[in-house]
């Protein structure tokens, strides 16, 4: 586990809000020199605490009006079928995330589509034909909010 001090936490908080800030601008805001800030950011990246940067696209403006979360239960289980299912599901472009979970379902998928009829196409042609797929539950996303998390 990586230990953070209060300055690391401030840097993380600032970068989660705006990852494009330069080390010198960030340093000025926090009262640190540019090299000191840069060294801290470099350590956060090298230790993998900062896993990467993501471009936040507005999916609705790009014409993807619908996001649906699918809970998928596999009909047949076993090592081979899990791998087959995972390989096939990750290859579907409309599937944005795949999470293996424990509980009511085996997998949780985030699927985007242009509209409901486009979603129906994805569901029928791509999801229901996946190897080993069993029960599928769909929940249409109405709102979502990401929180900064326990940075401290």
């Amino acid at each position: 586990m990586i230990e953070l001090d209060s300055v690391d936490r401030q840097i993380l908080r600032a970068l989660s809000e705006d990852a494009t800030q330069s080390a010198s601008a960030l340093g000025r805001a926090l009262g640190l020199s540019q090299p000191a800030t840069w060294r801290r950011i470099k350590r956060l990246r090298e230790t993998g605490v900062i896993a990467g940067q993501r471009l936040d696209l507005d999916r609705e403006r790009l014409g993807f009006g619908v996001a649906v979360f699918l809970g998928v239960k596999l009909a047949t289980k076993g090592r081979v079928s899990l791998e087959d299912f995972e390989r096939a599901v990750t290859a579907i472009p409309e599937v944005q995330t795949v999470e293996h979970i424990l509980g009511l379902y085996d997998y949780r998928l985030r699927v985007v589509a242009r509209d409901i009829s486009d979603f129906e196409r994805v569901l029928r042609r791509r999801i229901m034909t996946l190897p080993g797929v069993g029960d599928v539950e769909a929940n249409v996303l109405l709102s979502e909010e990401r929180r900064p998390g326990p940075i401290g």
Partner: protein, 98 residues
């Protein structure tokens, strides 16, 4: 993107929450209170069998239990909670099929 596992948060749980629909402002009040829990990473609302979903992280199962008992169960308008535990992320790029 922060890798919370690297910061010692080994547990990630999806909480599917059913709200008391007799309350017109149930979701707003629920979301407002959920924002005050630092371990809550995502708040989503749905049309379907599930009303809302919280993504919650914890250091270990004991810590999760503490968050669940002390913070989550105190949220307003909860009718039912169902927990799903994350095992692995198979795909997470969130790219759009452009």
């Amino acid at each position: 993107m922060i890798d919370w596992r690297k910061l010692g948060y080994a547990v990630e749980v999806s909480l599917r929450v059913t709200l008391d629909k007799a309350q017109p402002r149930a979701f707003e009040e629920f979301a407002q209170a959920a924002r005050k829990i630092p371990e809550v990473l995502e708040i989503q609302s749905f049309l379907g069998r599930v009303d809302t979903r919280l993504s919650v992280i914890a250091r270990d199962m004991a810590h999760y239990q503490q968050i669940y008992r002390e913070s989550i169960l105190g949220l307003p308008h909860i009718a039912d909670v169902e927990a799903l535990m994350h095992v692995a992320r198979i795909k997470s790029d969130e790219a759009l099929p452009l």
